[in-house]
C-alpha cells in the first residue's frame, strides 16, 4: 500500500537555530498534507497543513514546503525553542470521500540548550 515516510528518525538542533524536518510520500494522488507535533504523553497536535495546489505555506515560526515532482515535503521551524522538542509526524490524505490520514513514523526533534 501507499506509505508516508520520514528521512531521519532523530534530529538535534541548538536552541535558536532553524530546524528542517523532511518527509517523503509515495502516493502521487495525495492532495492534502498535515504536520503534527506530539509531545510525550500527549496526543498529536496540529501544526500546519498544505494542499497540493500550493508549494509553500507559512504559519507562526513554521513553514511547510511541498515538492510534488519528487513527492517530498518539509517542515521548517524558525528559531527553535526548547518547547519545540517533540516527535513530528507528517500525514497525507489521498483522494476519496473518507479523507483518511496516513501517518509516517515520525522524527524526534531534540533542542539542545
Amino acid at each position: 500500500g501507499e506509505s508516508v515516510g520520514l528521512h531521519l528518525p532523530t534530529l538535534s538542533v541548538q536552541e535558536g537555530d532553524n530546524s528542517i524536518i523532511n518527509c517523503a510520500y509515495s502516493n502521487s494522488a495525495s492532495d492534502y498534507f498535515i504536520w503534527y507535533k506530539q509531545e510525550s504523553g500527549k496526543g498529536p497536535q496540529f501544526i500546519i497543513d498544505i494542499r497540493s495546489n500550493m508549494d509553500k505555506r507559512q504559519g507562526q515560526r513554521v513553514t511547510v514546503l511541498l515538492n510534488k515532482t519528487v513527492k517530498h515535503l518539509s517542515l521548517q521551524i524558525a528559531a527553535t525553542q526548547p518547547g519545540d522538542s517533540a516527535v513530528y509526524f507528517c500525514a497525507e490524505t489521498g483522494t476519496g470521500s473518507a479523507r483518511q490520514l496516513t501517518f509516517g513514523s515520525g522524527t524526534q526533534l531534540t533542542v539542545l540548550p
Partner: protein
C-alpha cells in the same frame, strides 16, 4: 473551545481480559476516529465514524475489537479479549466534515 476528551488515561489489564475506552469529541464535529499508536510508530486508523455511521472499519480487528457511536456524539472502543500485542496508545480524534483532525490525549493500554 474544549478539546477531545478521553478516559481513562491509563489502563493495565491481563491478557484475555476486556477493556473499554471512551471518547467525547469536540462539539459540532461530525467525524470521529479511533487510532492505535504503537510505541515508536505513527497512529494507525482503526475506525472512522460520520455521525453515528461507520465510514471505514477495514483496519479494525473485528474478532476482538468493537466500537460504537450510538447517538453520534460520544464513542466507545472495546477490546475483548485483549492480547499482549494490543499494548499501545489508543487515540481518538474528531473533525468537521473533511476538516483537520484534532486529537485527544489518548489512553495508554498495557496488557500483561
Amino acid at each position: 473551545e474544549a478539546g477531545v476528551a478521553q478516559s481513562p488515561r491509563y489502563k493495565i489489564i491481563e491478557k484475555r481480559q476486556s477493556v473499554a475506552f471512551w471518547c467525547n469529541p469536540i462539539s459540532g464535529h461530525a467525524t470521529l476516529y479511533w487510532y492505535q499508536q504503537i510505541l515508536g510508530q505513527g497512529p494507525k486508523l482503526l475506525i472512522q465514524f460520520q455521525n453515528n455511521g461507520v465510514v471505514d472499519d477495514s483496519q479494525l480487528p473485528k474478532d476482538r475489537f468493537s466500537a460504537e457511536r450510538l447517538k453520534g456524539v460520544d464513542s466507545t472502543l472495546k477490546i475483548q479479549p485483549a492480547k499482549l500485542e494490543d499494548s499501545a496508545v489508543y487515540l481518538c480524534a474528531s473533525s468537521r466534515l473533511a476538516g483537520v483532525q484534532y486529537f485527544g490525549p489518548g489512553t495508554r493500554l498495557t496488557v500483561t
